[in-house]
Symmetry: C2
Subunit: 363 residues, 2 copies
């Protein structure tokens, strides 16, 4: 079977000719996985750390057994097999753009430098990249935690760009785009990508006034707002989502779901015009809820499984983070917030994980 | 929340002005749900019957709590609210084309006429159709069990037709189409729909020689085979699926998954050309396995959640069953097989459910 579907991977550091060995520096758990670990362990950092250690020890990879999802990692290339097609060299500092759920991994430091309070996990160990894999050399002009956070969600803006551009071409007008979770990382990048692809109106749906204020404050490179409207709804309330999107200029020709909680399928479907498209990026999406939900309300909508890979996805996302001040601000605030939260919740070691500016040598 | 996501529905027979009350005659459980019930109850017909009764009594709808899926029903329209947009009249014999998972339902006969051995369930009771719903009047020229079986899967050929036609237009050539589970009901209809939409080559993937023989024997309306190739692979074995599709003329521009078992995502992705499309119709599809699986092998494929609703879906599927002898043969054999299997496994009552020809008055 393929590595993602396997329960356990062989993480032996002896590589095959088309593989690459990476000395791991940091894991970046995906949001759905970290949320599940946080809730299942009552928010206890040490319990979360133990859980991650046990998962990797038993599975040979960091794949959350409940969510099925993983995340990504950064590290330094240690060895490159002679037949590797990835174009990497020993010493390159890279990020993997395939999921941790299919990346062989061994942890050697017991995660001693991680307090379990944020999804960014300082880690020593090794990982293997297969021949048919994706990795990107980290850019010199951006802090590592920022590049990591951007690359982790770079599939979303890339696919959003493609779908919105297709819709503009098909409809022969600038499409209306709704983004559920527009003040988050994948959501803000997707909003910027939608605008660049020709969206006529970008409607950001957020859960509360705090995020609405963040979104309203976010400026686009063009000088306007990142979103044309910031509307408040619980994404799990389909009637409410459809209503607020409708009032803000909807229904949407393209709806993008970037909210990592279960139960957002119905609202996304109802907020979308007949003949429109919904892109589900949340790993909390239920296949049956989407399929039966659309059928159940006679919705002729195209529903896409958000593929994390579109050619050029990392380059597009990094370009957006460089050129879009509103998106950059949202990322910087979220990364700072993690750092602060982690410091507040630190255990006896009082460890504060690297904030954005702490490792300029890697930036 | 929307009815599909609700745990329990209100199945009170007093209808709202835009609703329709239906006197139920038969439930048709979806394949994934019946398989789960069959396995969870060790194949015991009486235990399966009890389980279905309990689900409907506790939830007010027939939604399998494990698979999340339902099925459909037939019955006679009893009452039509003055504001119903469905165009139905009292006395019409209809099939619902929305899932049972969101249809309020009350069973009044304890399923006494069902032996639990097949997914076609004779049933007395009532159901409610909402305003935004889909129902089709059963055609006079086809047996009821056949129409039911066709309408139950009619979303698959309709969406396949649309996607293959789009691919032909985009690629400016006749696309290669692979159908996983091509000798089944949704698979054979999808194969016929793909051909009608302009497929250049239809590759049917089946699990064993018995189904390969069925598929090879199935003729298309054009006089050739329903599929151009019938190849054998376990759909859960990604490498094998990719190999056999490749050898038969692949990779596919469009791959259609009609196999109702978990774990078919990887094979479908690997069998599909870069830039191609996978349509997942199986309710056993895992959203995360699809999303992470494609990313994990750097597959630039568009992945669609198989929406059960496309405008005109019932009419297209009924037209295919009338005009395509190979598809009709596969349906007739499967319906007969259920009848035979049910008779063989009948309990003390020795009840034999209605075979295709048993209720000509409804045909």
């Amino acid at each position: 079977m393929l590595p993602q579907a396997a329960w356990r991977l062989d993480a032996d550091p002896a590589i095959w000719p088309d593989e690459v060995l990476v000395a791991v520096e940091r894991l970046n758990l995906d949001a759905a996985s970290f949320r599940q670990l946080h809730e299942a362990n009552g928010g206890s950092g040490s319990a979360i750390r133990t859980a991650v250690r046990q998962i990797v020890a038993s599975r040979g990879k960091m794949q959350n057994p409940v969510t099925g999802s993983g995340g990504m990692l950064t590290g330094v290339v240690a060895e490159v097999g002679p037949d590797s097609p990835l174009g990497l060299s020993p010493g390159d500092r890279i990020a993997t753009l395939v999921s941790l759920s299919l990346t062989p991994l061994v942890i050697t430091d017991g995660l001693a430098s991680w307090d379990g309070a944020s999804e960014q996990v300082p880690c020593q160990g090794h990982a293997i990249l297969f021949g048919r894999s994706i990795a990107a050399v980290l850019p010199d002009d951006l802090p590592v935690p920022l590049s990591l956070a951007v690359m982790d969600v770079c599939g979303a803006p890339a696919l959003t760009h493609r779908v919105v551009a297709d819709a503009a071409s098909r409809l022969r007008r600038a499409p209306v785009v709704a983004i559920l979770g527009a003040a988050g990382k994948s959501g803000s990048l997707s909003a910027a990508a939608a605008r660049r692809a020709g969206a006529g109106r970008v409607i950001g749906v957020v859960p509360h006034e705090g995020e609405a204020a963040v979104l309203r404050a976010a400026r686009s490179a063009g000088g306007g707002g990142l979103a044309d409207a910031a509307v408040i709804a619980d994404a799990r309330d389909p009637i409410r989502v459809a209503d607020v999107v409708g009032e803000a200029g909807g229904p949407a020709d393209v709806t993008v779901v970037c909210v990592d909680v279960p139960g957002c399928e119905g609202g996304a479907i109802l907020a979308t015009a007949q003949g429109g498209t919904v892109i589900f990026f949340s790993m909390a999406t239920s296949f049956t809820a989407a399929a039966l939900g659309a059928e159940g309300v006679a919705a002729d909508v195209t529903m896409l499984v958000g593929n994390g890979y579109t050619p050029g996805h990392a380059a597009l996302a990094l370009d957006l983070i460089r050129s879009e001040p509103g998106v950059r601000g949202i990322f910087d605030a979220r990364i700072d917030e993690h750092a602060t939260t982690a410091a507040e919740h630190a255990g006896s070691a009082g460890r504060r994980p690297d904030p954005v500016q702490a490792r300029p040598g890697q930036g």
